[in-house]
Symmetry: D2
Subunit: 346 residues, 4 copies
C-alpha cells in the first residue's frame, strides 16, 4: 500500500509537534507538508531539535497550494481558523482531522454560545466526533473529524458506558479534572512560566470551562440521558498528563465495583487503548507518551456513590494520538499503527 | 516575659523540621530539646544543613528525663507512640501538642476503628482538637492538643461555617483533595522517590483514607449535621502544598456567591490566617511556607451546587504552623507570633 | 531608632518581589513606596498574592516626587534605567542600592564594552561594589552601591581569599556555574516556559556572558592578580539556587585541603553568611531562601588542582538579600537584620 | 531472519526497564526472559504499568536454566554479580552485554583498585568496551561487551577525536558533568527522595568518582595520550538526562571552532547517533528518550581554551540504548534498529 500523504497545519504548537512525533514513526504515513505562520521557512527540526535525524522538512505558510500536497490534513490551530480552512480542503477531496473545537459540536447553537459565530455550518452535520472508541463506525466513513478536547476524552471514556447502562444518576455527575501545563499550549503567558508553575496547584475556570458543554452534548447523544455536569479543571505542575476523578450517585445500592468493571470491560472489549484497572489506581506516569486511557473504579458504599478515575496523556490520547488513531480507522488500518511505542518507565 | 521552653519529640521528620524552622524564629519561645531515635547524638543542623547558623542543638533520645527540659512538648511522631508519651508528660505538668491522630478523636471507638487500640483513653475527654480558628476558646485552656490532619484542616475550615449555617446539604458533600509528597513524610518508599513522583499524578486510598472519619466527626460536632462525606486524596508532584475542592448541593437555589463569601467572612472575622478570596482562585504557591488558608467560592448555578476551594501548606497550616498557632493561643500570645514571615513569591 | 524608609523601584520583578519579602520582615525598615511601570495603580499583593496580609501598598509609577518618599532606594530595574535614575536620587540626598550592572564597574570602558554607553560616569568613582563581606568598610560609608551579579557573587566569595593568598594560578581559573531559571527574570520567553525548562539542562552564553568581565575586574582589584577566567553558565530546571564549581591549578603541590579551608575560615572569620563546609558538599537546597553562601573545597591531588564549590540562592545572596545586607551595613545595623529567617528544610 | 531471542537479567531496575522499553519495539528481537530477584513471579507490567499492552512476561529468578532461554543476555545488575554470571553464559555459547563496570576495564588492576577483586579475569581480554561509535569493528565480533558508564560515554565521545588529533593538551582536561537522578538507580535512598531532589543541585564524589579511571583508561588506549583528568559529577533535579562540559587547553592558538567541528564531523561521519551542533547548544531535553549524543564546541579565545559540551539521555545512550546499539552491531543489523523512535518534543 502506498503511504498516506499527511499534512500538518499548525505544526509547531505542542499538539502539532506531537503529531509530527507520532506520524514520523507511522509505517503507513508520510509527512509531506508542515505549515507554520510564525516559523515559515525554518526547518521543523530547528524549532524542536529533538527531531533532528527524525524529520527534515521546512515549515511553510499555509496557502492555496497546500491542499495539493497531501491526502489528509491535521489542523492543529487555534479555534476559528479551522472553520475557514476545512471547507476548502474538503472541497478539494481531502480528509480533515481538526484538533480545535470548530467541528466538535453537532449543535451549532451550543458552539456559538461558547465560542463564536460558526462560518462552516454546512459541514457540522457530516463532521464526526473523533472519540475513537465510541464513534468507530462513523469515523470509518468520515471526511471530517472534530477531535475531542482532552478533558472531554478523559471524562467521556469512563462515563459513557456507565451512564448508558443507567448505573448512575445523570444529574449527580461531578467531574474534577487535573491537567498538566502543556494543555495550555506553547503561547507565552505568565501562568505557563516555570517559576509560576512549579509548586503551584490550582483550579481555573471553575464550573465555566468550555469543555463542559462539549461533554454534556456528547454524553446526552450517546446515552439518551440529559446530563448537567459540574466540571472543575485544575493545573498540575508537570509537562504531560491529565487525571480525571468523577463522582456520581449510583442508581441502585446493590451495584458493586465488579459490576462497573464488567460494564466497562464489555463496552471496551478488544479496544487496545482502554485499560480497565482492576488492581491499581490510574497514574499519569503510566500513560505518559502513550495513547492509553487507564480507567479505575471505586464505590463509596456508605454514600452509594461511584468514583471513576481516568488518566490520559493530554497530548496523545487527549489530542495528537487520538487524531492519528482516527486517521488509522478512516484508512482501514489497525488503529494501533504508529501508536504502539512503549512509554518511558521513568 | 520569659521565653517558653519548647521540646520537639521526633524532630527530624518533615513536620518536626518544620517546627524547628518556625520555633527558631519565634520571639517568645526557645527550643531547649530535640529528640530523635534515629539521629540521637547528631546535631540537628547536620541532618538539615539549611539550619546551620539558625539552630545548634544535638538530637537526643527521648527518655524519662526529657520532660524536665521544657514547658511544652510538640510530638511529631507516628501514630501510637504519642499516646504512650503524652500521659507521662501531662502528669508532670507539661503541655502537649500532638501532631499525630492519637488525640484528634473525641469518640474512642472512631479512633480504634481506623487506627488501633487506644492506650490513653482517659485523656481523650480533655484533649482539644487543634483547629485553631474553630476551637480557639477551648485551646486557650487546653493542656493537650490533637493537631488536625492536613486534609481535615483544608476541608473543615471552608466547610464548617457553611454547613453550620445550613447552606448546603450534609449528605451531598464530596471532598477532592490533592497533596504534595511531603505529606507522605521522610520515610523511604518507592512512591516518594523523585523518578516515581515527577510527572505522576494519581489518587490513592480512594474513599478509604483515615482522615475521612476525622472530618466527619468534627463536622458533625460543630454543625450538628450528620455528615457522610466522600473523600478522595491525590498526590501532586511537588514538595509542599495542598489543594481541596469541595462540592455540595445548596439547600436553596437563591443562594449566591456573595452569601457564601459573606458567611465565611463573618465566621472568620479578624482571623489573620484565613484569607477569603473574592477575586482570585486559591493557589498553593500563594500559601507556600505560610500558615495561611486561602478559601475560594464558586456556585454552579445550573446545578445549584456550591464549589469551595481551599489551599494550605500541608507542613505549615496542615501541621507545624497550626501547632505553633495553638501554642500561641494556649500561652495568651498573639496567634501570629513566629508565623508572620512572608512566603516566597517564587 | 526610627525605621529606615525604603523605596523599591521596579518592585514587581523577581528581585523586586524578593526585596519586598525581606524588607517586610525587617524590624528597622519600613517600605514606603513601591514602583512599577507595568502594574502602576495595582496593589502589590494582587500581583503576588502570597504577600496578602504581609504588605498592603499600591504600586505607583516612578516620577519626580518618588524621591521624597524614602531615605534609601533599591533599584531592581533592567540595566540602563538605573543610571538615569540614580543621579537624581543621589542629588536629593538619598542613598541608592542598584541591583543592575550600571554601577558595578569601576572601569567605565569595561562597562561600555559589554553593556552600553554610560550616562552617569561621574558616579562610578564613588559607587561601591556591594560584595558585602569583601567591601564592608567602603559600604559603611557609601551613598551608592552596585550590587554584584549572582554569578560573580558565587564565584568571587570563594576565589578572592584563595587568589589573594596566591594559592592558585590566576591564568588557570575555570568557572562552571549553574543557575535556576528565576535568574532569567519574570519576562516572558520561550526558554522560561515550564515545558521548555522541565527536564532541560544546558549551557548558554558559553564563555561570553557579561558577568565574566565583572568577575575579572573585581578579582584583579582585590588580589592584584591579572585574572583571565573561562566562565560557562548553565540553566538548571528549578526555581531558585545557583551552584558554582571552580577549577584552578595550585601554585604548590604541598597545599592541602586543610590549608584552603583555613585560608577561607580566616578571611571570613565572624562573617555569618559565609559557611565553610568541612564535612559536607554545598547543596542549593541548604541555602534556599537564605542569604548564606556555602563554600566547599576539594583538591584533586593527582592533578594538583583545586576545586572550589559554592552555592547561593540567586535571588537572595545573589540579589535582594545581599542588597539588604548592604543597607544594614550602610546604616550601622547588624548585617543579619531581616536576613535571619530559617530557610525551608523541604 | 529469525528474531534474536533476548534475555534481560535484572530487568526491574531503571536500566533493565529501559532495555525492556527499547527491545519491546525492536523488530528483529524478541524478549524471551526477564529475571528479577526481588520481583520473581510477578508480571513485569505490574511493576511498570506503563508496559501493560506492550509486554506480558512474568519475571523469574535467574538460575541454571535461564541460559537456555535466549541467544543474548543483557545484564543490568549491580557490579560484582555480572562477573559471576557472565562466564557461565559465555560457556554456553551465549552473547553477553553487561551494563555494569565488571567488563569495562582492560587492566584488571585498574578495576580491582576501584571496585573489588575480579573473579572472571580470563574474560577481560576478549571483552570489548561497548562505546559503539569508537569500537564498532571489535563489537561486530564480540561475545562479551562491557557497556560504558554514562559519564564516560558523555565525556569520551567528544574527547576521543579531539585528543587523538592532538588538538588539546591531555594534562589540562577538566570534565564537569551533571546527571539526572535516575542515574542513581531505583534503590531507596534519602538522596533520591522527591523532597530532597527538587530544588537541589550539588556536586558529589568530587574528583573521586569511579568513572574517572574508566575515562582515563579508554582515553589513553584510543589516543595514545596519557590523560589525567579532573572529573566532578553533579546531580540535577530531573528524571533523565546528562550534560557534560569539558575544558582543555588547545595545543595551538590558531585552532578555531571550525577546525574542532570539522574534526568531530569527520571522525563521526555517517554515525547517526552523533549530532554535531553547529548552531545550537546541546540541551538534555533534545536527546531525552533517544540514543543521540549531541556535541557542541566553543573556544575561549582569550584563554586559548576549548570547551566541549555534550548531552545524552543517561538511560539510553548512557546505558540501555547503547547496549541495544551494540547488539545491533554484533548481529549485523542496522545500528538504528529499535532506536529510531522520536523523543518527546515536550
Amino acid at each position: 500500500m502506498d503511504k498516506i500523504k499527511v499534512g500538518i497545519v499548525g505544526a509547531t504548537g505542542f499538539a502539532g509537534a506531537e503529531l509530527v512525533r507520532l506520524l514520523a514513526g507511522h509505517k503507513n504515513a508520510e509527512i509531506t507538508v508542515l505549515t507554520s505562520r510564525q516559523y515559515a521557512g525554518i526547518n521543523f527540526n530547528k524549532i524542536y531539535p529533538v527531531m533532528k535525524g527524525i524529520i527534515n522538512i521546512r515549515c511553510e505558510e499555509y496557502n492555496q497550494r497546500t491542499a495539493e500536497k497531501a491526502d489528509i490534513f491535521f489542523l492543529a490551530l487555534p479555534h476559528k481558523i479551522p472553520m475557514e480552512i476545512a471547507p476548502e480542503l474538503i472541497a478539494q477531496g481531502k480528509k480533515v482531522i481538526d484538533l480545535s473545537a470548530d467541528f466538535r459540536f453537532a449543535d451549532v447553537n451550543n458552539y456559538e454560545k461558547h465560542y463564536q459565530k460558526h462560518k462552516a455550518k454546512h459541514l457540522l452535520k457530516e463532521a464526526v466526533y473523533g472519540l475513537s472508541e465510541v464513534y468507530t463506525n462513523r469515523i470509518k466513513k468520515a471526511r471530517l473529524i472534530g477531535v475531542p478536547g482532552c478533558y472531554p476524552t478523559s471524562a467521556l471514556l469512563p462515563l459513557i458506558p456507565i451512564l448508558k447502562s443507567k448505573l448512575i444518576k445523570p444529574e449527580s455527575i461531578i467531574i474534577d479534572s487535573k491537567s498538566s501545563v502543556s494543555g495550555a499550549g506553547r503561547s507565552l503567558s505568565l501562568t505557563s512560566m516555570y517559576c509560576g508553575v512549579a509548586e503551584s496547584f490550582k483550579a481555573y475556570k471553575v464550573a465555566s470551562h468550555r469543555h463542559s458543554p462539549e461533554i454534556e452534548e456528547v454524553l446526552q447523544k450517546n446515552t439518551g440521558c440529559p446530563a448537567s455536569i459540574t466540571f472543575v479543571p485544575h493545573l498540575i505542575p508537570m509537562s504531560r498528563g491529565m487525571e480525571t476523578t468523577i463522582y456520581a450517585k449510583l442508581t441502585d445500592d446493590r451495584i458493586e465495583e465488579k459490576h462497573i468493571l464488567s460494564n466497562l470491560s464489555v463496552y471496551y472489549k478488544d479496544r487496545y487503548f482502554i485499560r480497565i484497572c482492576k488492581d491499581r489506581i490510574p497514574d499519569t506516569l503510566a500513560v505518559r507518551g502513550t495513547n492509553f486511557c487507564d480507567i479505575g473504579v471505586k464505590i463509596d458504599k456508605r454514600n452509594n456513590r461511584l468514583i471513576l478515575l481516568s488518566v490520559i496523556d493530554n497530548l496523545v490520547k487527549g489530542a495528537a494520538g487520538q487524531a492519528v488513531q482516527n486517521m488509522n480507522i478512516m484508512f482501514g488500518l489497525d488503529e494501533r499503527t504508529g501508536l504502539d511505542k512503549a512509554g518511558y518507565a521513568v
